[in-house]
């Protein structure tokens, strides 16, 4: 038996009778087999979407940004909505991989690999929007401070849009490093059990020559811990800086100090919803129900109801401040044009999806229902998309001059671009699910003996013991 034990009151994190080898078999064998029919169907649909997205972007670059329905009043529409939405989704992955690591939450091990992959793909999708939205995309490198022959004229370090460039690119790089450093040992596992030459070669290259040496593990642990420590403030900073894009402006509806925490809570909220959507499908198709258990889903649903309520509080605080602040423009933005007016419908979709419906998760039965969780995860993501749309468009479409008031609906290249990022996201995710271990194999093994179902059985007899008695009993057993 193990030298450590966890209370039997805690639900096991790995169900079924498992040993280390069985864990490897369960998680790695889908990589070695042929993917199912559903995989091909899903992958093909994703590729179609990606192609349509590429065509939409081509169309916009060829004819200019005028093919979008943005106008003088509404300069930011679907493009920035989608950017903020995708960046937000990424946040759950880092929260699971970094913050929950620092908090020693064992349940993160079942879901962190897929969630981190989701982060990376979501940030890749997000990055497309501000770049394409620049219009002359071939000038995109102008956002980087590099020595040039125009002075050199540097970028404006006072601008939140430039902070965004640094925040998003740092976030992407650090997430990628964190994710890949965790993948190296698992690639080595695939390499060492590979039967075909090609697999041995490719995973041999991908595993960087990992052997599992104790010294290397010691450094690996130190690296993971420090990367987690770095990623924790990083993930909070990223959406904070995204919110600065709005909060540092003087547009009523944007110019509020509540934005950073409100954006971060919303980001985690929508990110967890996307993790749920992906993992419910992944666990079903790859038969990983014993690793991604109802307990995992329940834990994430608790985060969803918490962050959803934080977001709800923020909505109410904004309304209160708009009234209490006695600024007629801000009052008009919130009460006349956001909660009512031609785009008012989007505000109420947001309220329903983000604040009202997640309250079902106060009930344990609902938190542990796969069907309810799946439906809710979709609803939350729709709601969070509308939150960004509401913030951006309903603050812009009624400005100070009634003659420039406008309405906004997207043109097909805008919709196509958004669809295309779904294509990119799911193409990457399907490839990940096929060729990468979707669960961190080594990490599951390291919690198996304390949190595996078969190792928890028979532990009741130790429950009442003090630490000394427990340690005595363990040593007694080892002596025989």
């Amino acid at each position: 038996m193990s030298l450590k034990y966890e209370s039997t009151l805690r639900e096991p994190l790995v169900d079924g009778v498992k040993d280390y080898h069985q864990v490897t078999e369960d998680i790695i064998s889908p990589i070695e087999g042929k993917p199912g029919k559903l995989w091909y169907v899903g992958f093909f649909i994703s590729l179609l979407l990606l192609g349509f997205g590429a065509f939409s972007v081509f169309w916009q670059i060829y004819f200019g940004v005028g093919v979008w329905n943005l106008n003088k009043t509404i300069g930011w529409g679907w493009d920035i909505t989608n950017f903020v939405w995708w960046v937000g989704i990424g946040h759950a992955g880092t929260l699971i991989s970094a913050i929950l690591l620092l908090f020693r939450q064992g349940w993160r091990t079942g879901v962190n690999r897929a969630a981190e992959a989701m982060t990376i793909f979501a940030v890749m999708c997000a990055g497309q929007f501000p770049i394409i939205h620049m219009g002359r995309v071939w000038m995109a490198f102008f956002i980087l401070p590099y020595p040039n022959t125009r002075g050199p004229v540097w970028v404006n370090f006072n601008s939140p849009l430039l902070w965004d460039v640094f925040a998003i690119s740092t976030y992407f790089t650090v997430s990628l490093l964190f994710w890949y450093s965790g993948l190296i040992p698992d690639f080595a596992t695939i390499r060492d059990r590979a039967k075909t030459k090609l697999r041995k070669l490719l995973y041999g290259v991908a595993s960087f020559g990992w052997t599992g040496s104790t010294k290397h593990w010691q450094r690996h642990e130190a690296l993971s811990l420090v990367l987690a420590g770095l990623s924790t403030p990083l993930v909070l900073s990223v959406h904070t800086i995204v919110s600065f894009d709005f909060a540092t402006s003087v547009i009523p509806g944007w110019h509020t100090t509540i934005f950073p925490p409100y954006f971060v809570a919303g980001a985690i909220f929508s990110g967890f919803a996307m993790v749920q959507t992906l993992l419910i499908i992944t666990r079903k198709i790859l038969h990983l129900e014993e690793y991604i258990t109802l307990g995992h889903m329940e834990a994430m649903n608790k985060v969803i109801v918490l962050t959803g309520s934080v977001v709800g509080c923020a909505y109410l605080t904004e309304l209160f401040m708009a009234w209490y602040g006695a600024n007629p423009y801000e009052f008009a933005t919130f009460f006349k044009y956001r909660a009512a007016g031609p785009l008012g419908w989007s505000y109420w979709i947001m309220m329903t999806c983000n604040v009202i419906s997640p309250q079902v998760f106060w009930f344990r039965k609902m938190r542990r229902s796969v069907a309810v969780t799946f439906v809710m995860s979709i609803i939350v993501n729709i709601g969070m998309w509308f939150e960004r749309f509401v913030i951006i468009c309903t603050s812009l479409y009624r400005d100070y001059l009634p003659s420039s008031w406008s309405y906004y609906r997207p043109s097909w290249p805008e919709v196509g671009f958004y669809m295309g990022t779904f294509g990119l996201f799911f193409t990457c995710y399907f490839l990940f699910a096929k060729y990468f271990p979707v669960i961190a194999v080594a990490e599951i093994k390291s919690i198996l003996k304390t949190s595996g179902e078969n190792f928890k059985e028979g532990m009741e007899k130790y429950e009442g013991k003090t630490a000394e008695e427990f340690s005595h009993a363990v040593h007694h057993e080892h002596a025989h």
Partner: protein
């Protein structure tokens, strides 16, 4: 590095491995390494390895990032091209914080990962000897280096008593080399195991 002789034993359980490591160290054998499929907490201490200084390296990289960002932005705004942007000051420290923070994190993370790869000799194209294919799956593999003073048979008996199984002798390159995992390595297999 060099080609060396090893006695290799497999353990099934970390609870057996810990006392075995202790015995090997007490007996004075040269413990080359223990390979495990996952990080076994406390094994590094049991083997007498010192703590890693990777954290310190990370801190230094982070500080480098902080000074690079602050120094560069201050130089651009004050020395190289002092531009009046909306009447704002040339040294707006609060506005410099976001980028300074991001570069601190970026430098620390990238620097640490590169240092980690350097210290552990991890790179695409690097090849190392794998003592047993299941050392990355479910077995804990202990490799004891043979010197002129150790007798292979004695070490094998010793490992067996310590709870190991599948004990064998291997002659292998102890370091890394450029190679492919799908190719057998002629230089190593050229040596008979008990040459």
């Amino acid at each position: 590095m060099a080609v060396k002789n090893f006695v290799v034993g497999l353990f099934d359980d970390e609870a057996v491995l810990f006392p075995a490591v202790k015995k090997v160290r007490n007996a004075g054998y040269k413990l080359h390494d223990v390979y495990t499929p996952f990080p076994v907490h406390g094994l590094d201490h049991a083997m007498g390895l010192r703590e890693t200084s990777l954290h310190t390296a990370g801190f230094i990289y982070g500080i480098t990032g902080t000074t690079t960002a602050l120094g560069f932005m201050s130089w651009v705004f004050n020395v190289d091209w002092p531009l009046n942007i909306g009447g704002k000051p040339h040294f707006p420290l609060p506005a410099f914080i976001p980028i300074t923070f991001e570069l601190t994190v970026l430098f620390a993370a990238v620097g640490m990962v590169m240092t980690f790869c350097y210290l552990c000799q991890l790179m695409p194209g690097v090849k190392k000897h794998i003592f047993h294919p299941r050392q990355t799956d479910d077995k804990f593999v202990m490799a004891i280096e043979l010197t002129e003073k150790t007798n292979a048979e004695e070490v094998k008996r010793f490992l067996k008593d310590a709870g190991a199984h599948d004990i064998n002798e291997q002659r292998a390159e102890a370091g890394w080399w450029y190679g492919r995992f799908d190719k057998d390595d002629a230089d190593i297999h050229a040596y008979p195991a008990n040459a």
